[in-house]
Amino acid sequence: MGLVSGASTSRLGAVLLRRGAQGIGVAVLVATLCFLVVRQLPGDAALRIAAGRYGYDLVDAEAAAAVRSELGLDRPAWQQLADWLAALVRGDLGTSLVTSAPVREEVGYYLLGTLQLAGLALLLAVALGGVLGTLAARRPDGLVDRAVDTWVAGVRALPPFLLGLALVLLFSVHLGWLPTVGHGSSTTIVLPAATIAIGLSGLFARVTRDAVVEVQRSEHVRFARTKGLSDRVVLVRHVLRNAGVVLVPYVGVQAVVLVEGVVVVESLFGWQGLGHALVHAVFWRDVPVLQAAALVLALLVVAVNTLVDLVVLWLDPRPRGVAVGA
C-alpha cells in the first residue's frame, strides 16, 4: 500500500508543479501585456487619468505632466518592465491613480465580491446543468433529452449581456421582484449570479448528459447492474463518480468563460468586483488597478484549474498524462 500512496503523492506534486508553472507563466504574460499597454498609452491618457483624479474641470497640462512622470513613462522600457515585475514579486501593486488608495486593498475588496459572485454562479450552473444533464441522459433522445438540447442551444447563442438585460427587464422592470443594480444585500446577487449560471449551465448540461450516457454504456456499469445492484445505487455509486471524472475537468475549461462572464455581468449590474474595477480602470486609464485586476482575474483561472485537478486526483486513482483543462 506504501506504493499506492507514494504514487498519489507524486501525482499531487506533479499537479501543483504544473499549475504553479502555469501561474507564473500567466503572471509574466499578463504583466508584460499590461506593461505594453502602459507604454503605448496615447498622449492624452495622462490627461484623462488626471481628469479621473481631479475632475475634468480642474485638470490642466501640469497635472497631466505630473501623472506622466508618476508613471515613469520617460524612463527606458526594460527598466520599467523590470521595476514592474520586481514590484509584483514584492506584492507591491502601487496605488490607484483615481482614488489614491493602495491597490492591494482595493483589489482585495473587489476580489471578495468577484469570488462571491463567481462561486455562487458556478454552484448554480453545476447544479442546474448536472440535474438537467442527468435527467436528459436517463432516456437518450427522449422528450427530456430533446427539451434540454433546445435549452442548451438557446442559452449558448445568447451572450451574457443580452441574457442579463433580458433578466433585468423581466424580473426587475416588469415584475419588480428583484433589485437590478447594487452590491451588498443578499438579493442583489441573485440576478448577476443567475445570468452567469444560466449561460454556463447549458454547457454543463450537455457535457453531463454525454458523460452519463457514455458511462452508462460502459462495461463496468453493466457489470455492476448484473451484480444485482439497483438502478439508484448504480447511478450514485458508479455512474456519477465516473461521469465526474469527465465533467469536472470541463469546469476547468469553462473557468475562462466564467471569468469573462464575471467581467461583463459585473459591469452590467454594477456589482463591486474585479471585472467592474477592470472596466472602470480601462475607462479611466487607472493603470495600477488595471494591471492588478487583470492579473488577479487571470490567476483566478489558474486557481480554478488547480482546484479542478485536485478534485480529479481524488475522483480518479488512475495515473495518466496531463489532465484536460485550461
Binding site: 504574460l29 499597454v37 450516457v213 473557468a255
Partner: protein, 280 residues
C-alpha cells in the same frame, strides 16, 4: 478500448451522435447566407448610416423604413447592415489569422516534437488560461477611441491557442498512430501523410473551432461595445446599438430588438454550423 463488443448488444451509439447534423446544419447555412448577403449588399444600396434627421426621432417602422429610425433619426436598417458587415468581417479576419497561426504551430509542434514542442506548449499553457475578453480589454485600453486594429490583434492573439492545442493533440495522435508508422514503412512521403492522414483528421475540428471562433469574436466585440470600452459612437456596431437603444426599450422596442436578433442569429448560425462539441 474494447475490442469489438457484439454490436447488437450495443444499440443507438450512432443514433445519438448523428442527431446533431442534418436539417439543423442546413438551416444554419441558410441563416448565415442571408445575413452575409444583407451585410454585403445592404451597405451598398441603403442610406448613409450616419445621416441624422432629428425630425424623425424614434420613427416607428414603416414600409420605406422597415426597422424605423433611432434617437438621432438615423435609419436603423442601414446601421444594422453596416454593423453586421463589421462583425462578420472582423470575425473572419480574426479567425483566419488565428487558424493559420494555430494550425501551423500545432502541426509543427506535433511533427518536430522535442524543444519546439516544449516551448510552444509552455507558451500555450499561459495563453489558454487568459480570458479573451481580458486581453481585448487590455488592448482596447491602448487606444483612445477603441480602434479596430487593437480589437483584431487582441482577438487573434487570444484565439490562436485554441487551434494550437486541438491541432497539436490530434496531430500528435495521428502522427504517432500505427497508420502513419505503416505509411512510413511503406515509403510513402509526407505528402501522403498530410493528405490522407493529417488533413482528413484535422479538417472537421478546424471547421468547428472556426465557427466557435466567429462566435467568440462577434460576441467579444459587441460585449466591449456594450460595456463602452470597445468601438465608440457614432460607429454602427451591434453591442453599441443595444446599449444605445436600451433607454428606449419601452417606447421604441424595435431599436433594441433589431441588433439583438441579428446577434442571436449570427451566434446561433455559427453554433449550428459545427459538427459536434469539441472539448479540447
Amino acid at each position: 478500448m474494447s475490442a469489438t463488443p457484439t454490436p447488437a448488444v450495443l444499440p443507438d451509439v450512432t443514433v445519438a451522435d448523428s442527431r446533431r447534423g442534418g436539417p439543423g446544419r442546413i438551416l444554419a447555412i441558410v441563416v448565415l447566407g442571408a445575413l452575409a448577403a444583407f451585410a454585403l449588399v445592404g451597405p451598398l444600396v441603403l442610406a448613409d448610416p450616419g445621416a441624422q434627421d432629428l425630425g424623425r426621432y424614434l420613427e416607428a417602422p414603416s414600409l420605406a423604413e422597415p426597422l424605423g429610425r433611432d434617437e438621432y433619426g438615423r435609419s436603423v436598417l442601414a446601421r444594422l447592415a453596416h454593423a453586421t458587415r463589421l462583425s462578420l468581417l472582423l470575425g473572419l479576419v480574426c479567425v483566419a489569422t488565428a487558424l493559420v497561426l494555430g494550425t501551423a504551430s500545432g502541426v509543427l509542434a506535433a511533427w518536430r516534437g522535442s524543444w519546439i514542442d516544449a516551448v510552444l506548449r509552455a507558451v500555450s499553457e499561459a495563453f489558454v488560461a487568459i480570458p479573451a475578453l481580458l486581453v481585448v480589454l487590455l488592448f482596447s485600453a491602448l487606444s483612445e477611441s477603441g480602434s479596430l486594429l487593437t480589437l483584431y490583434v487582441g482577438l487573434a492573439l487570444v484565439q490562436w491557442v485554441e487551434y494550437f492545442r486541438v491541432v497539436r493533440a490530434r496531430a500528435a495522435l495521428v502522427l504517432g498512430s500505427p497508420a502513419v508508422e505503416a505509411a512510413r514503412l511503406l515509403g510513402l512521403g509526407w505528402v501522403h501523410v498530410v493528405a490522407r492522414h493529417l488533413w482528413p483528421a484535422v479538417r472537421p475540428l478546424l471547421l468547428t473551432l472556426a465557427s466557435l471562433g466567429m462566435v467568440t469574436s462577434i460576441l467579444a466585440m459587441s460585449t466591449l461595445g456594450f460595456v463602452k470600452v470597445g468601438l465608440q459612437p457614432p460607429r454602427a456596431e451591434l453591442g453599441l446599438m443595444v446599449t444605445e437603444a436600451f433607454p428606449f426599450h419601452d417606447v421604441a422596442p424595435w431599436l433594441s430588438l433589431a441588433p439583438v436578433a441579428v446577434l442571436f442569429l449570427l451566434t446561433a448560425g455559427f453554433l449550428g454550423l459545427r459538427h459536434k462539441e469539441v472539448t479540447p
